[in-house]
């Protein structure tokens, strides 16, 4: 499964990066969102995969049963998911305002600070 997910991550990265390299500005935001998924999966897979066994402590016990999924990457990814949402939301509104202000969606025409 690690190999399969590594390939999936690679494809997600490739698609995200390709979208970010397009001149149409909306595609940039979508590429950013894809990149966010890919990065989250990297952290998740790199921490080691374990099927089932969520990191929960049963009621009354002090520790979970012997083997559970690693909780730390999960905590990191959880933070990352929320932050990438913040980034996408901000970029989306920025693009909307840019479109309103510049009246063009070709990134190549946005090379100067004055429009």
């Amino acid at each position: 499964m690690e190999v399969l997910l590594a390939i999936v991550i690679g494809i997600l990265f490739a698609c995200g990066l390709y979208m970010m390299m397009r001149r149409s500005i909306v595609k940039l935001v979508i590429g950013l969102a894809l990149l966010g998924h890919a990065a989250n999966l990297v952290i998740f897979v790199a921490g080691g995969l374990r099927r089932g066994a969520p990191p929960l402590v049963p009621t009354g016990a002090d520790a979970p049963p012997e083997l559970v999924a690693d909780p730390l990457p999960q905590a990191l990814v959880l933070t990352a998911i929320v932050i990438s949402f913040g980034v996408v939301a901000f970029t989306l509104v920025l693009v909307k305002r840019t479109w309103q202000a510049v009246g063009n969606d070709d990134i190549d025409l946005m090379r100067a600070t004055d429009t």
Binding site: M1, E2, A6, V26, N40, V45, G52, P54, L78, V82
Partner: protein
């Protein structure tokens, strides 16, 4: 006198000890520097005199150390600085350090008082005091420091404070340019010195200079000797404006005159000479040392004196003459005999006294008459009698005439060259040439403005306020006193300094009258030649003008060319790298990252071996295919709605992967956030432009290739990351302590709100900033405001 030999002794253990004064003296000046602007705000006109009390009292304290140091004792103090990397602020006061400390504090006090009057009413005078005293602290730290790293730190601090002082009048282009030039030249030398000092530390196994100096021939016989020597010389030669780096010093005359008098004649430029003198016991005496220092020193000495006479601006004449004197000191250190060491120290002292005075007089003349050109000055003696007296005394000392201390300095210099075991004839000829040219320069800059017919000046001249007269007058008095009783007044300190240079205790005999020696004959010859050169200076300048074309390939042009090409390279690089196209930035980022990562991987680890750890189920394969298909649809879709729907597909499938691998919290968050994202996209959707295809087919292929390279790199990295197992992951701690200590059964939640709660706080902050950004962007209507 006592010594705290171990560098590890904390300050409190030293509190009862006189040696702590060494560290205290530097900190006192730093504190004074920080306070200076505030003092200026309250005390105003008296600030200069008040601040001068600091260095003046340090001068008195150092003066009380002369007898002990002259007996060969040293004062040592240490302050832990960075014990983990074996760096302590160790300080050591021996003869050489004491001589410089006296010059720094003594002349420093006079300069601070002088500056108060010279810059009276300047709106940034508080800042000036701050920089000037900061420099004083750095310079004092440099000569007292015993640790190699501390020496470098103080060395750089003198370069930086010099930069601030040269560029003090920062609204003038010339001042900014000169400041930058001085910083770049001395800064580059400083880096070379750092490398040299580090090599010294490695080669000798010690970071304390006193231990290295005591190690005898260790460095001279070490394989690293030549690199060390070249690097240390590069540092010293740039700082002390030796040929071919002499050009920055005359340009530094853009600084206010107190700075020129202090930094660029009596102290900072001697830092290079100081380092050479300091290193002499451990690096000196080899053929390469003798050759390099004698030749570069002698060339600088003659060239500087020659160029001095080519100029007619007071301060530039003095600056070139300073270059010449610095060359003489380097030459003497190159000769390296006991007599030459004594001559070097005596010459440093003599030069500091008369040149400091002459610079201050030059500043006074400029200040009072508004005229800098010596050819347009004359007959000022009637208007400024006191200044004239001081100036002529200093000039006589500079010209090397009895009974002033400059004569003593020049006589020992000539004796040392006469007795030099190597190239004696050449060095004597060079010294006589230098002495003759210096006599002419002394008359030109310090006698001519006062005698002869009175020439009209832009301002009506009169003697300056007392604070401006005191500095040069006191230095002139010292020149007379030391000249009349050289053995009594200057003998102990010159002897102590020479002992440090030689690395062994020596006695010196200084006398005004040596009898009818060859040195005296050469002196007389130099004076006659000098007077002739002064009257024939038009001819000298004619020769100089004829030699003008040489300047076109000189080091100053080299500096200009280097700066110009730096600008060219910078703008070319900016054109290539900063194209303004996001795509190009991404391509450069992806390709360079993939290239570097790939290179490191294959160079260090070879092709990684991949082991399959978990076999995927059929539904897991299905999910993976869903993610991939979704991502591909996003890329190829021609409609925005289609792309957004596919993006949602990717997000929910990733969420399902989280479910399967034991991360229900992640899955829940992912589903919630994904839903929000899709809603957000759809909401903003109508305000966004439709998809458009702008790139051509070739560009799309290129981008695809780059994106695939980036993706492949990530795949390889993930496979490698899975292979790596940290010995004891920190997660075990979280798993074990979640319920007992944090009373939470969901370990992920406990990590977020308890163990790593600051991360979560940061996350909330990011969201808050994004929300503020979104809100502001939506509210912001620059066009509407502009219309209003």
């Amino acid at each position: 006198m006592c010594a705290a030999n171990s560098p590890g002794i904390p300050l409190s253990d030293l509190a009862m000890d006189g040696a702590v004064g060494l560290i205290f003296s530097v900190f006192l000046l730093v504190a004074l520097s920080a306070l200076a602007p505030t003092v200026q705000r309250f005390v105003r006109g008296w600030t200069g005199l008040l601040l001068a009390l600091g260095p003046a009292s340090l001068f008195a304290w150092f003066a009380t150390q002369i007898p002990a140091v002259a007996r060969g004792e040293t004062l040592e103090a240490a302050l832990r600085w960075a014990p983990s990397i074996d760096i302590a602020l160790t300080m050591r006061l021996d003869g050489l350090a004491l001589l410089f400390a006296l010059l720094i504090c003594g002349i420093g006090a006079l300069i601070v008082a002088y500056a108060g009057a010279y810059l009276h009413g300047h709106h940034q005078i508080g800042r000036f005091y701050c920089f000037l005293i900061l420099f004083m602290a750095s310079m004092l730290g440099l000569v007292l420091a015993d640790n190699l790293i501390a020496i470098f730190v103080f060395w750089e601090l003198t370069s930086i404070s010099s930069y601030l002082l040269i560029g003090f009048d920062h609204r003038r282009t010339a001042a900014r340019k000169a400041a930058l030039q001085a910083l770049l030249v001395t800064g580059a030398g400083g880096l070379a010195l750092l490398a040299g000092l580090v090599l010294m530390g490695i080669a000798s196994g010690s970071w304390e200079l006193s231990e290295i100096l005591a190690s005898g021939d260790v460095l001279r016989e070490h394989a690293l000797y030549t690199p060390i020597l070249i690097l240390v010389l590069a540092g010293a030669f740039t700082k002390s404006a030796q040929f071919p780096f002499h050009f920055w010093l005359p340009n530094a005359m853009e600084a206010p005159t107190p700075v020129s008098a202090y930094l660029h004649s009596s102290t900072m430029v001697k830092a290079g000479v100081y380092i050479l003198a300091r290193m002499h016991p451990t690096l000196g005496g080899t053929d390469s040392w003798i050759w390099a220092l004698s030749i570069f020193g002698a060339v600088t000495m003659v060239l500087g004196a020659w160029l001095a006479l080519q100029n007619n601006q007071l301060k530039r004449v003095l600056a070139y003459s300073t270059v010449s004197s610095l060359g003489a000191m380097v030459m003497l250190l190159g000769i390296g005999t006991p007599l030459a060491a004594k001559a070097a120290i005596a010459f440093i002292l003599a030069h500091a006294l008369y040149k400091g005075a002459l610079f201050m007089v030059a500043g006074t003349i400029d200040h009072e008459t508004g005229e800098k050109n010596t050819e347009k000055l004359g007959g000022l003696v009637r208007l400024m009698p006191a200044t004239a007296a001081v100036s002529i005394i200093a000039a006589v000392s500079m010209a090397g005439l009895p009974p002033l201390f400059g004569f003593v300095g020049k006589e020992v210099l000539l004796e040392a060259t006469l007795e030099s075991p190597t190239f004696s004839t050449w060095l004597v000829a060079a010294s006589v040439a230098m002495a003759a040219l210096t006599v002419a320069a002394a008359i030109l800059v310090a006698v001519k403005p006062f005698i002869g017919a009175h020439l009209e000046t832009p301002k009506k001249a009169h003697d300056p306020p007392l604070a401006m007269q005191a500095g040069p007058a006191i230095l002139a008095l010292f020149t007379i006193a030391l000249g009349l009783a050289p053995q009594f007044l200057a003998g102990p300190i010159v002897g102590a300094g020479a002992s440090s240079v030689l690395g062994e205790q020596t006695e010196v005999k200084l006398a005004l009258w040596h009898g009818l020696t060859p040195a005296l004959g050469f002196s007389a010859l130099a004076v006659l030649l000098g007077v002739g050169l002064y009257f024939g200076r038009a001819g000298v300048r004619g020769v100089g003008a004829a030699l003008g074309p040489i300047d076109a390939v000189g080091p100053a042009r080299g500096y200009d060319a280097a700066m110009a090409s730096l600008n060219l390279i910078a703008s070319a690089q900016t054109r290539i790298l900063q194209s303004g196209y996001l795509r190009n930035y991404l391509i450069i980022l992806i390709i360079s990252t993939a290239g570097l990562v790939g290179f490191t991987l294959f160079a260090r680890h070879g092709v990684p071996e991949i082991r399959v750890q978990t076999i995927p189920n059929f539904y897991e394969v299905g999910l993976a295919i869903l993610v991939v298909v979704g991502a591909l649809i996003v890329v190829v879709s021609r409609s925005r709605l289609g792309a957004i729907a596919a993006l949602g597909l990717v997000g929910y499938s990733v969420g399902l992967i989280y479910v399967l691998y034991g991360a229900p919290d992640l899955a829940m968050t992912q589903f919630a956030i994904e839903t929000l994202t899709v809603i957000l996209f759809v909401l903003v959707f109508y305000h966004l432009p439709a998809f458009a295809t702008y790139s051509g087919k070739r560009e799309r292929l290129r981008d695809m290739l780059v994106a695939l390279i980036g993706g492949a790199m990530m795949t390889v990295l993930v496979l490698l990351a899975v292979e790596i197992q940290v010995d004891e992951p920190v997660s075990d701690y979280f798993i074990r302590n979640s319920a007992p200590k944090a009373y939470g059964h969901n370990i992920v939640n406990v990590i977020l709100v308890d163990f790593r709660v600051l991360d979560t706080l940061g996350e909330i902050l990011v969201l808050a900033v994004a929300a503020i950004g979104v809100h502001t962007l939506l509210r912001l209507r620059p066009d509407r405001r502009a219309r209003r």
